[in-house]
Subunit: 667 residues, 2 copies
Amino acid sequence: MISKIRYGNPVPTGAVVNGTADENGKGQLRYFEKTEQGFRYRMEKKDAVYGLGEANRGINKRGYQYISYCTDDPNHTEEKLSLYGAHNFIVIDGACTFGVFIDNPGRVTFDIGYERTDELNIIPEYEDLDFYIIEGEGIKDIVRQFRILIGQSYIPPRWAFGYQQCRWSYMDADAVREVVDGYENCGIPLTAVYLDIDYMESYKDFTISDERFPDFGNFVKEMKAKNIHLVPIIDAGVKIEDGYDVYEEGTAKGYFVKDREGKDYVTAVWPGLTHFPDFLNTEARRWFGLKYQALTDKGIDGFWNDMNEPAIFYTERGIDEVREFLKAEAGTGDISTDQLMELKWKLNELANNDTDYKAMYHNMDGQTVNHDRVHNLYGYNMTKAAAEGLAELRPGERTLLFSRSSYIGMHRYGGIWMGDNQAWWSHILLNLKMLPSLNMCGFLYTGADIGGFGSNTTRELLLRWLALGVFTPLMRNHAALGTRLQECFRFEHTEDFKSVISCRYRLLPYLYSEYLKSVYENEMMFRPLAFDYREDEIAVNVEDQLMLGNEVMIAPVYTQNATGRYVYLPENMTMIIMHENGEEEKELEKGIHFVEMPLNRVVFFVKADAKIPVVGTDYGRSICNGTMEDIAVSRISWLGKQDKGYRMYMDTGHSDNKKDDVLITEF
Amino acid sequence: MISKIRYGNPVPTGAVVNGTADENGKGQLRYFEKTEQGFRYRMEKKDAVYGLGEANRGINKRGYQYISYCTDDPNHTEEKLSLYGAHNFIVIDGACTFGVFIDNPGRVTFDIGYERTDELNIIPEYEDLDFYIIEGEGIKDIVRQFRILIGQSYIPPRWAFGYQQCRWSYMDADAVREVVDGYENCGIPLTAVYLDIDYMESYKDFTISDERFPDFGNFVKEMKAKNIHLVPIIDAGVKIEDGYDVYEEGTAKGYFVKDREGKDYVTAVWPGLTHFPDFLNTEARRWFGLKYQALTDKGIDGFWNDMNEPAIFYTERGIDEVREFLKAEAGTGDISTDQLMELKWKLNELANNDTDYKAMYHNMDGQTVNHDRVHNLYGYNMTKAAAEGLAELRPGERTLLFSRSSYIGMHRYGGIWMGDNQAWWSHILLNLKMLPSLNMCGFLYTGADIGGFGSNTTRELLLRWLALGVFTPLMRNHAALGTRLQECFRFEHTEDFKSVISCRYRLLPYLYSEYLKSVYENEMMFRPLAFDYREDEIAVNVEDQLMLGNEVMIAPVYTQNATGRYVYLPENMTMIIMHENGEEEKELEKGIHFVEMPLNRVVFFVKADAKIPVVGTDYGRSICNGTMEDIAVSRISWLGKQDKGYRMYMDTGHSDNKKDDVLITEF
């Protein structure tokens, strides 16, 4: 049962689409008490708190605080409060079990036992919100009800389940060819190469640098012939430049975010001075969405939307303040050291400054709304714009689409990657921990920058991360400018990488089937052990293993120089030690095991009574790339025991999806 | 056997004091080959590499690179290459087992399987060095030989084994009283409160702010009467201020570090513009060391030396460059945005800039030496200055002394804390991992800032960190300006903190005895399991447990919301679940266990055939504070089995130490 209590006059977010919520009024707040600042729940000692989507720290979120405010901060150290997404759904499980969704796109703080260990305090900056309480038959049912409330998750084309490579940036077509050849030469199947900001002309959205990517349409074809999809980035900011059509049209039509006086707001990001399209405006959204045609016309069928928190390097206001300070203090150049230190502080505060967010205004179809109140809707609506545009531009066809910033609701339009991370071992584990919390919020197509975006990776770190990435719907290796080259073929003994990545293709029928099942049945593809083994005192606290579907448990290595790791089996399972050409199986009993995990193997666990489909690497690759409506039963093998059936979900892999089109086969 | 090969003309570092090394020449390099850049060892697949003292990442250092260059960087994320200390001793264990010490105080890079997984490359920036190879009967013997080579480790007074509290800063005497009362009121025994930089007058070394700490001598007495030692900080930089005696004397006598032209080098740190004393000069060292008298005269018997990498906020050179840039680019105030971004970069590069280190010169008793070549000796010699001064000022008495920056050799003069860390769970584990590597290099009196220096701690994080801190010789809670107050009494249910911290006092006879044993027998107080159980394939890879002495194994919790953790027992042991008034014991068999670890208990393991002394909390406190020459046997209880004896080392706890003065009792 879902109850909704409305406070104030909330902006419609579009998060909820199936409004079955009971609006019985304040009586339904009963778990919480209203405080001056927000809402308080008294936690019992054993209460755990799950959720918050793309958030820092544990699977159990208790013991810290979190702020929902989409933020461009690539340095996810443990104390960070905000990441790229804002996903205000939690489930409290313990003395009472229920879900809470705060539908409010402004800043919302979740203090989950930080200030006081026994209090959960939810503190919205603006108290215009819908407060949902979801009750049900346990956690999984509560999540399912919430997922129905917010609508069906996005499904990408099947090729987007292949292994993909990105770097900021492959500077020209030859650099892309080098990557494709590098992978081909060592026999590692690749389905996509990403184009980061440098493919554009001066970072202008919907342009292509003729110098670096001449004859782009033919280059796209050349790559398609090798089953490689090119996936260009689209940034939120539109460059201010006379003669640039997107800028000129947007200005003429009033489609950009405004300042206090109603002028187009000026910020700076990669292209230098830019305007932000007003994605909260229906007309502006349609206008921007159809701009993707510049690339779909060239054969592009996948995009990633970036910088849409929106990230801001600086604004005119900030720069003007610095200039004024310099004029006043340093006209003669005789600036004091103290003044220089103040200047340093001012310069470092230019980026992503609250003052700037509070000075931006949206035209929400007639209503003027301050950006700060709806901050978390921005990236969401950029991706909605793209999804709706692409549905018009490529009718009947799926397009790969994912975003850096997001809010619940955006899960219907695209996936997300887990933001700019680092080549840290701890970020493998953070990757794992975000999977179930994102699934709770409807985000199923997701994954982290494998190998780490910032910092220099190592061969071992990349291999271990790939062994987790094999299971994540988005499996993309991505690294930043200035870091060590981290395409797999840059390292010694590429056969180890081939062995690990091939397992992705071998498991593709299973992973794709489980993905479809999660979408259509409103299930979580990845779950904490606590959701399935609530009475098992060890299982409920496991923070480094996940259940995948109803058959599998994963437990990746996330430490340097490890030969293996401890794994807790909440029931008897078969350990699978997989490589490109086969696998070993070993029965293990419920309990704690130290399991060896060679660097060139993918190790996972299948429940004793379950089975999962597995195919050969090449056939898996053809399923990934192909348009086949079915898969050949004769070419499927099975891992695990045979006594329990498996329901396989399969579809065309590329066409617009409806539940009715899914072929469900019982094995 | 120790062999030494000399390259070039190395500066004497004083690291080695017992020069028994065989100088047979280049033949002894046989494990390594000389490369253009340095020295290369081909690692076998199973080779592990231990050591590097205060360094980042694993106990086994393989798989990454490290740069020995003392650096003030409080943000120890996984990719950081340099921390506060520079400790060039490693042991390779595998196909061959041997130790290597690179006695070179400039920048030295250790690439341990980073660039290529099978190569260890040691790359000194300046190839004037002594290259030692140490061979022996296994790792422990190699470490013992190295420890003999570098001389006996520092022993602090016994009160320094009590629980201590620090904050940047307790702003006045009343703030200190509040802390002492806070602990007293909740019955948590405390032995020291630290005074961070704000106790000084304008951050001037050897001054005391009369306003904030009036009648300081009596305040010291007031605290001593409560068994509280005040421990003031001393920074490396000396404020440039007319009338300030330290500045004026130093200038007059030429005791400061010079610039290229031989003028006193000007940098800025906390006091604003400063000079750095030339600690590499014997006379300057003695002069500075005797300055501690300003505080010992007031009854102070403990110090911590800080900012001695040396940290630099900016120099005149850097500031002048920025001013020149501003004058040239922005005379009129019409500076462009690009210029502002360049300015931001320039301002952010002011601190700890290589150009400045390369522009500083030492007078090493007549020889002019560029700072960059001897950078890692600076903090070491500041602490040597203090130790030698304090030995004159407080004859026959030990003084608590530890440093932020260090080099091997400094272990004879004082301890170190593990530098400015963060309130991150991962830093509990980093704390644990540094213990054995520091012990290898002679640093025995050490510990981390418990609860975390930067970032906001949580109650749970602090309790878990304390449960490790109970075992570290330096047990100090320390937090930075602007962070959440983290004295234990600030949190709910202080009885839990009392329970954990009391265990420190209950174990004091054991910990102090093991400390003395480690000093006099050149043993490691903390060892990786790999050192003791080399043939046990699980044990050799354990990175989150340590052996303590010959009796105990520790395995702290370092994750949020954990009810316990996996522990690997390499042999049968007794699990001790300790609290302030007693303990439970439980026999556990060799193997893997999930062990419950309540937040308010200290859980550890005693070998099945061993026993350790334990006392009551109050008695432990009196041993800590007291000057007794012995401890009353009747008041000792024993944990663990009785069949193996225990050799207890005990001494006066305060007087100058010689091995002959130690009372060894066989139980």
